[in-house]
Symmetry: C2
Subunit: 345 residues, 2 copies
């Protein structure tokens, strides 16, 4: 990309990606190309904001993720933050710092992934910044969304007596990463090696945030606290417990184990619970809900094709997270999470 100036590069990456009709339907009045973007807001809703940075060799390696996966996931991680608030994702800005030696084709693939994910969730990309760097490829996506006034699902809203639930199957992304690192081959070749483990790789490279689940949870009026589990189930449970000033007692035997994770655990001789509690980058949700409404809530999510499982209860008699182990013994759950300051290799 060294030959291109900033404006030409931005055009090469963003032109003709989202139609004027799509942007208009998203409420965008001014998109890429002025000092700032301008968009409508929805009366009765509040603004929700998040941002997330991915750095090559810290958050991803080329050996584990295709460039389009990297773009997809950078967008997905922010959409997951929106889902965790019960919000609708709406607008994104993409800040990219690029080593001069990077081929334009790699960047185009990265933007393919960005726009694929944005399109899937009807997010308008309305701006950004593209700079050079002498360091690693760095991608920051910032997102805004909207949620009904005063209704955002906060991590501080767990109350004793509620059930703790999780959507999907925790731990798959971390196991997928380990699988990819272990294979040490380009990610587009992994299917040759382990097709039956594909869901783990998919979970790591193409995670699907649970926006619909977040919206259904909010609409139900029965949801207490909600977090995504991007830093791991244990860490996020701790966040809820501390923010709410109560205890979460999880039953490790009730946490759903995906078939692919069970297969990989058997193959490697590892305990799937390690990934399920301490693996990160799953864009599933952990939350609490009133016991009374949980059955109908669970049914509504099930009808939408979203697996949800009761995995514990909220207690008023301690603050923190405890878990029943495989033998039914009540043990404290370590607070450790997925720490991006621990580099991946």
């Amino acid at each position: 990309v060294a030959q291109l100036d900033e404006f030409s590069l931005i055009r090469a990456l963003t032109d003709n990606r989202q139609s004027a009709a799509f942007l208009g339907a998203c409420g965008v009045r001014v998109g890429v190309g002025d000092d700032a973007a301008v968009a409508e807001t929805t009366p009765g809703r509040e603004l929700v904001l998040s941002c997330d940075t991915m750095v090559e060799d810290v958050h991803f390696k080329r050996v584990t993720m295709r460039d389009s996966d990297i773009g997809f996931k950078a967008m997905a991680s922010n959409i997951s933050d929106m889902a965790a608030m019960g919000a609708v994702p709406r607008l994104a800005l993409v800040a990219l710092s690029v080593p001069a030696a990077m081929p334009l084709e790699r960047l185009k693939a990265l933007y393919d992934g960005i726009y694929e994910c944005a399109g899937r969730y009807r997010v308008a990309v309305v701006g950004g910044d593209t700079t050079s760097t002498r360091g690693a490829l760095t991608l920051t996506v910032t997102m805004t969304g909207e949620v009904e006034k005063g209704r955002a699902l906060l991590r501080s809203a767990a109350r004793p007596g509620q059930v703790v639930f999780v959507t999907g199957y925790p731990g798959m992304s971390a196991a997928g990463l380990e699988l990819l690192l272990g294979l040490d081959c380009p990610s587009d070749r992994w299917p040759e090696f382990a097709p039956e483990l594909a869901p783990l790789v998919e979970a790591h490279c193409r995670p699907l945030p649970q926006v619909e689940a977040g919206r259904l949870l909010l609409a139900s009026g029965n949801c207490g606290a909600l977090n995504d589990i991007s830093d791991g189930l244990a860490s996020e449970a701790w966040e809820i417990a501390e923010a709410s000033g109560c205890g979460l007692l999880l039953d490790s035997r009730r946490i759903p184990v995906h078939g692919s994770l069970r297969a990989y655990a058997a193959l490697t001789g590892k305990d799937p619970l390690d990934w399920m509690f301490y693996g990160g980058e799953d864009y599933q949700l952990i939350g609490t809900a009133d016991r009374k409404g949980f059955a109908s809530l669970s049914e509504a999510l099930g009808k939408a094709g979203i697996p949800v499982r009761e995995i514990g209860t909220v207690s008023g008699s301690f603050v923190g997270v405890r878990a029943l182990d495989g033998g039914g013994r009540d043990v404290p759950l370590a607070k450790k999470g997925y720490n991006h300051f621990r580099e991946v290799d």
Copy 2:
């Protein structure tokens, strides 16, 4: 910072920076600490969004800017984008990628600058992301603001017959950078060397975005196009000309030259116009306005202590930018701007 985990680092940098009362007055309902922030919106206004990335050794060097300057300027560049739309800046997210060897004290100084600028312009810092990197310190600030519905000042709104104006004194930031690079000494020592040139260094290291000017221009109802001149006066004039499909004829003799710039030009034997047309990172505004209302507009800005000067006219007879040179000859003005892909050393 290598010993700190991400959460401890974020706390060390952001705790107790902005009071709950300040955040509340800014309409923040949920700040740092949940999956995303939540803030009120103002009825009748639209959302304005921008982001800007600064990379060490591309956008700044430690020899030219103190860490607090870097933080201040990263915030200021986004506030300037808001000003250029006529918008009120409101909320910011800060994404920081940090080399492991960086001392915590440097980061704290950087955040001092971030919060100093944010406080000055009443911007609430509501979130962000802090990651490690093997590469250069990278700082992305994303900002949202608000502007009255349908009233944003776009670059496409120049019309033949309007005057072209500029606020402040273009070229000072670029001259300040050159001065600092030339001196090749730590920036906190520059006053010993050239105290009379202080305004150039101030313009480079602590630029003050023209939010009040933008608001007055919008309120006047007389303003056409508006841009900030962060990519240089010539480049931004070209942006307005092309977006509006008309010509800007600038009179180089009418562009205000600051005394410090004149002094530095004399000292170095250079033509101040080079900095004024092609220097970047001035957070002043270039715009167009109806001739009829310009005198009162100029008076309103003057009363607010904002220098504004008529520097040309909008023409319907060509598309692009031309300038009258020192001898009054009409010459085309090169489209080149301040290109951040050209590294600073």
